[in-house]
């Protein structure tokens, strides 16, 4: 018979039911994805709302990325649920005292907002392909255009008003959605590791840095793959954004961690055993050291020395990769760490992730890859790069 559960090893005294860890690696992936959504949307808004020109090359790309990520956000949750077919119960009869009851509505609203925003942003391209393209792509774009083929100046002006308005609404929506994920953890009084008022802002800032990092990385990779020059001013702007938010993220996380230790409430001995034992590598070495301090110092060096050219791009990419890893580790240390410290305050449980199975590492990895696959497919239809458009390509092809 298939094993229905995996008992976790433990030390000290833990409640018997705690020997099966409730939230697996999938619940690590879930806030990671929502964070990437919030972060990439923020980058996109820096151009669309705040009009910062240096972010133009990545603004549409970041917008499309936010949508592809957001579509995948429910996946880890649905994989985790005991009855995914009942997931809509939370929306049909939301239990309003639950910190999680509004998630379905908030996520749906935000997904819809991203869909509409992306539609407006890419409408000119879609219409042009619908008019001038060939083959199945033309038919896809005809459907996607929703019959709205007007590209006159008046229509474009109207579109821009919508893009601006949606981006303005999108900022609190994106940040709110992710801050709210932090609240899901921070509001639980049963676990000392989670129970903190600082959890929402900590989640929020780490979201912004992870999203910015992903945009840096994908912008450079796609530019190299397409053999087009990388806008240095854009990279510089992203580096500044990452640097600033990274400092705040580190500061808040440091304050949260320090308060937890300083408050030293019941069970602190066990927490200290955990912090100075199992947590050393994932938290101090990987998350704080390698993933946060190394990129912070690198980015500081880049900014102070005014590094340019390939060195800037290479160092920015390396820092972005490390920050992405650090935020993943942060999610892990929060979600898994909270469950590894027993509610008894007298023992520790060890989470041993399985490789295969519905809640295994393979499933979690697949969920993380899905947005990239969606992004690849989306760029087959529309072109999010600033310097060219699908229509221009089509015209070029027609001319040749």
């Amino acid at each position: 018979m298939e094993t229905l559960f995996q008992a976790a090893p433990f030390s000290g005294y833990v409640y018997p039911n705690e020997t099966v860890i409730p939230w697996s690696v999938l619940i690590v992936v879930y806030p990671y994805l929502t964070g990437l959504v919030a972060g990439s949307f923020t980058v996109s808004s820096l151009f669309h709302v705040f009009g910062m020109e240096q972010f133009r090359p990545v603004s549409r790309f970041a917008m499309l990325l936010a949508l592809c990520l957001m579509v995948c956000v429910p996946m880890p949750l649905l994989l985790h649920l005991g009855h995914p077919e009942r997931a809509f119960n939370a929306m049909i009869t939301p239990h309003l005292t639950s910190a999680f009851a509004i998630f379905g509505y908030a996520a749906s609203f935000y997904t819809l907002l991203l869909l509409v925003e992306n539609w407006f942003v890419f409408r000119p391209q879609i219409v042009q392909i619908a008019n001038e393209g060939t083959g199945p792509l033309r038919w896809i774009c005809r459907v996607l255009s929703l019959g709205s083929n007007d590209l006159s100046e008046h229509a474009m002006h109207y579109d821009h008003k919508w893009i601006y308005a949606l981006a303005v609404i999108g900022i609190p929506a994106a940040l709110g959605l992710h801050g709210y994920v932090g609240f899901v953890f921070g509001s639980l009084k049963s676990r000392e590791w989670w129970s903190s008022d600082l959890m929402p802002p900590v989640f929020l800032l780490s979201a912004v840095i992870s999203g910015t990092s992903l945009v840096i990385l994908l912008y450079v990779i796609t530019s190299l793959a397409r053999k087009v020059p990388i806008e240095e001013s854009c990279i510089k702007g992203l580096v500044y954004t990452l640097w600033g938010f990274l400092m705040f993220a580190l500061l808040l996380e440091g304050v949260e961690f320090a308060s937890l230790l300083y408050r030293s409430r019941e069970g602190i001995e066990t927490i200290m055993t955990y912090v100075t034992g199992r947590l050393v590598v994932p938290f101090f070495v990987l998350q704080l050291g390698l993933g946060s301090l190394v990129p912070l110092l690198t980015l500081s060096f880049l900014i102070v020395r005014g590094v340019k050219g390939r060195a800037l791009i290479g160092a920015a990419c390396a820092s972005a990769l490390l920050v992405l890893f650090a935020v993943l580790m942060m999610r892990w240390n929060v979600v898994i760490g909270g469950q590894e410290i027993s509610k008894t305050g007298k023992g520790l449980v060890t989470y041993e992730p399985e490789w295969f199975g519905r809640e295994g590492l393979l499933a979690a990895g697949s969920v993380l890859c899905m947005p990239m696959i969606l992004m690849f497919l989306a760029t087959r239809i529309v072109t999010p790069w600033a310097e060219e458009s699908r229509a221009a390509l089509l015209r070029g092809r027609a001319a040749s």
Partner: protein, 283 residues
């Protein structure tokens, strides 16, 4: 007594929604939700335990009771009959990782400040029992100098302000008027947020059903005039159950005649399992 008074509030809403699905509802039915719910007396939510046919039992008035549980930890001998009875009565998975009720052993050894605490999942106890399907406390301190040792039975506290109910996103777990915290297994989505929220570790995931599970104080028995299974089998009356509305009930007397304690009062959950004979190290 009418059916209306015996219907839990949350399921009534659900029944209302079900009726909408059947096409039986219209705009005017919104106001009459209670009537519709009342008209379907037999169409009740999930049975919480093993074999309940109707829920609650016919003729049971849930407005007339306010049940509570009492534990005299000084009497418990750690025989674990309660654990076995509960597993059998409620079809709880026969392993050392899923319990609706369990017993903890605290042992202070000579020269040590902190007690040794163990319970069913402890490998030494599993070995002593012979398998994970049987439960026994190993005689592990026979060669040690024990200064003080005692057992503490644990179960769901059916709190007045249950954190598990607060966090449930669907309302599948709810508080009844007679003082129970129950789970509608046909409505639970299995997110386990409630498992995280319970400070007592009383909830677990029922892997076979894909829903969360916990002690119901044997609601299916109580509503038929019986005692919870663990109370029934306890050979030393360490576990007691009764109606707080009845001043002569065993629990009312227990609370009146003793200086009782509850577990983790600082959580604000206002638990309804009253203890005597706890110790500062009991968690």
């Amino acid at each position: 007594m009418t059916n209306d008074t015996t219907k839990p509030e949350v399921p009534a809403r659900r029944i209302f929604l079900r009726n909408i699905g059947r096409g039986a509802a219209c705009a005017g039915a919104v106001a009459g939700a209670g009537l519709i719910a009342g008209a379907h007396g037999a169409d009740t939510p999930a049975t919480p335990a093993s074999d309940g046919q109707s829920f609650p039992a016919p003729g049971y008035d849930w407005n007339a009771h306010r049940w509570a549980f009492a534990v005299d930890a000084t009497k418990c001998i750690g025989c674990l009959r309660c654990v076995e009875a509960c597993k059998k009565e409620n079809h709880v998975a026969l392993d050392a990782h899923h319990f609706r009720t369990w017993v903890e052993r605290y042992a202070y050894l000579e020269g040590e400040e902190k007690p040794h605490v163990d319970s069913m999942p402890d490998p030494v106890n599993i070995q002593a029992a012979g398998s994970e399907e049987k439960y026994r406390f190993a005689n592990r301190y026979k060669d040690a100098k024990v200064e003080k040792a005692f057992f503490v039975p644990k179960l769901c506290n059916h709190c007045t302000h249950p954190a598990c109910v607060q966090v449930c996103p669907t309302g599948a777990t709810y508080k009844t008027r007679d003082g129970f915290v129950l789970i509608d297994h046909k409505y639970c989505i299995g997110c386990q947020y409630c498992v995280q929220a319970c400070p007592y570790g009383a909830r677990f995931f029922n892997h076979a059903k894909g829903v969360t599970d916990k002690c119901t104080w044997c609601y299916h028995r109580v509503t038929r005039g019986l005692m919870p299974a663990c109370v029934e089998v306890c050979p030393v009356q360490a576990r007691m159950f009764g109606d707080l509305n009845d001043p002569k009930s065993v629990v009312s007397l227990f609370i009146r005649n003793n200086r009782v304690q509850v577990l983790k009062p600082e959580t604000g959950n206002a638990p309804n399992v009253y203890y005597i004979g706890l110790d500062k190290e009991v968690v």
